[in-house]
Amino acid sequence: MSLKYWIHKLLPLAASAFVCWPACAHDSSCLSPSGLFGFPSGFSCSLGQNLHEQITLIAASTLHLPDCAVSKIGDFAGSVDFGEYTVPESAINAYLLKWHFVEGNPKPNGSYKASHHFDRGPGIPHEGAFRNGVGYLQQMLSSAQTSFASGRPSEGMTFLGMALHALQDFFSHSNFADPDPTRTLPASEQPVAIDFLFGRSTVFPKDLMLTYYDPDDPHAGDSADFARFSHEQHAKDNFSRSGYYPVIYDLALTNSELLISMALGSSQGGLCPNQPGRTITPVSSLDPNDKAGSTGIGASRFVGVGQTSYSVYYQNQPTATAPAQAVTVTDTLNTNLDLTSLTLGAISFPNQVITPPSIPLAISPFTATADLRPTTNLLVKINASLNTTTGVLTWTFQSLDPTTNQPPNDPLAGFLPPGAEGSVFFTVMPKSSVTTGTVIQNTATVTFDVNPPINTPTWSNTIDNTPPVSRVTILPTQIGSIFTVQWSGSDVGTGLGTFTIYVSDNGSSFVPWLTQTSATSSTYNGQVGHTYGFYSIAQDLVGNNESAKTLAEATTQVTQASPVPSSEISVTASGLAYSRVSQTFNGSVTIQNISSATIYGPFEIVFTGLPAGVNVVNSAGAFNGSQYLTVPSVSSLEPGQSAIVSVQFKNPSNATINFTPVIYSGSIH
């Protein structure tokens, strides 16, 4: 029974790195795992020997990578020991575990580090030793990730191999799993350990123990408390003991990630619960060749008829066996695009960014030469042109030998190593005649040297070329100085975005009152005697603006307040409830239009004749010596319509409260 830990350690661009790179030390002479060790591919084999390198080689063989890549991984999985242990000369390519446990190993004064092996050194508690080991493991994995992402696959292999070595050692040198169930880390703590191991948590698993090892006194821990967890006596990768567990794993590649599946190879127990491993967001998730454009609005990616941008990403395929010498990117532009507006943006590939001038490409093609020296002894000639007849936009990248100014003869010389990527960028405007709802699709094609062209995904945008419409709601002809202005609108396509409300004061030119507001009403503070006109200009979500206006859509005049005859408006009041908390008498006053015509506000209730000592707590002010209240949010009363306002009286002497109400319409501010 072999339960796997799926450790989703994502190594971006790792796929592209698993190729036969020029720096590989085992080029043509490197041997496949099966060739070297005679093991079948995969990890289902019975491991007669359990070398770090051997295990790693077998796992790597499942990736179907070139032999030299597999060997590279294995080498560095073993190189940890090579540097830290005394290894016979004959073991350079076949390090055996038995040397791992010979007298004098690890090297007492060598580069041995307990953390590289999840060992517990003298005076180090289990938790400290574990944290040290996790720190090393994470550092190696992160370094590998960085190396792959930076186009240094060979370096990435070394870090990956060292990380895999440490991973094997964790399971071998801890009590995570043990033939003796009573000494095995409790099942409830095993996920805690895995979470810690792969960076999901820093909670130390209770009762986790690591093997003890003192390189200056290798047997110091063999007695008493340390006997059980001494390196020699307990390490499960010591095949000489009866209960050893070869720690093995499987590796799998996707376009952008490396999946590490850890397992204990023994069939002596289901010691590892099936826990998901960590997922690390790749620093780059680009497909080898990709296309991106304006994100637009909504699922349809609505855009206006303004500038639209596109990017094309190209990458040397991970399975390539050599750098690309020549790359051609072509993009047949949609007929709804205005080719005369096309302008190039940045052109990039490893360590190079070229910025073409911001002039339409239709005017003249773009040509540049990038000098990659001294890092790489190459020139790269870049051409970009637009065929305005066919609508085909083309970029070409050609590696040149600086000496001959011709393509290099060396097939391994090229500007784009396997796994490396580049990009081109351009902007273009849809034709102004394009109608709303038109879908503009764009697909590019990338060609590497003599390989077949590869199409990028298609990017789609939908055009919204219809401006919105809006208007300000009609206002009463006369109004108080503080009044509410409302507006509304509609749009075909993406929908309304904002409004700009213009106002004219006494016939003057319209000026913006509110700019690009998403509100649909607001309060305007006018002056008595002034006449105000308003109109609105809407903008939709892609930036289409409503046509300009010159005339007011709503006009009103702020009038001086005047009393409303009692024959036109009635006033009633509720009883007054006394509050001991606020020490006020609380009630409400209701006004009702009892006339047959609309009465325009704002409305003020003036409290004339209040007894001495009685005050309106929530008064809006005083008018002709009496306090008044403004009826809120009521600009007019239709016949029969009423409005109510709360009122609080302060009445320290508890006198009977009464008053004669006078209602004013218009502004008394």
């Binding site: 006394y578 908390v581 009286f649 508890n654």
Partner: protein, 209 residues
């Protein structure tokens, strides 16, 4: 009880009584959350600031496992004393009854509104009258209890409207205010009923002859 439900009930308008006539509300308060608190109760029934028609109110059937404390304070047209019946008239601007009270686990009473403003609205008055009931967790009546109306401290109010109807606003999730379902004949009604019975009896007796 969830906050949402508390808010909902706190501002629930119990509703308007549609019948233009005397109306009685059964009031029950769950005071268990302030059990044994030495607090106070306040009742007031006041006219409005314009012209109010005459109206009266009685507090009936006061019952609680709590304890009335001290002497009540009266202001205006108020007579009686709890736990016996309290009677308020709206003849003056401020009619108030305030009494100390050590809360038990429950409190119940009836509020009966009656008088011309309810039984025969004159159509010319311009102010109603309003009853307010408040509970406090202090004897001085400054710290409101069992209410969401922290500004004024009312547990509930009952307005007598100009058309003789009443409107209750309940700010207390612990307080139930329900119109009494069993109709109690008013004196005028009893008189009419008695007259009818007497008339029928005489008529029967006459037929037997």
């Amino acid at each position: 009880m969830s906050t949402r439900w508390t808010l909902f009930t706190a501002f629930l308008l119990v509703g308007s009584s549609a019948s233009a006539g005397p109306i009685t509300y059964d009031v029950t308060v769950d005071t268990s959350s302030i059990l044994s608190t030495a607090g106070s109760l306040d009742f007031n029934f006041n006219p409005g600031p314009l012209v109010s028609q005459a109206a009266s109110l009685q507090i009936l059937g006061f019952s609680s496992d709590g304890t009335l404390a001290g002497s009540p304070a009266f202001t205006g047209d108020v007579s009686g004393a709890l736990p016996a019946t309290l009677t308020f008239d709206n003849g003056t601007g401020f009619n108030d009854y305030f009494d100390g009270f050590t809360f038990g686990s429950t409190l119940s009473l009836q509020v009966s509104l009656y008088g011309p403003a309810l039984s025969s609205p004159d159509g010319t008055s311009t102010s109603g009258s309003t009853f307010a009931f408040s509970m406090f967790s202090d004897a001085a009546g400054t710290v409101p209890a069992l209410t969401s109306d922290t500004m004024n401290g009312f547990a509930f109010t009952a307005d007598v409207n100009l058309d003789g109807t009443t409107t209750v606003a309940n700010f207390s999730s612990q307080t139930s205010v329900a119109p009494e379902t069993g109709a109690v004949p008013e004196p005028d009604g009893i008189l009419l009923l008695g007259t009818a019975i007497a008339f029928g009896t005489i008529r029967q007796l006459g037929r037997r002859r």
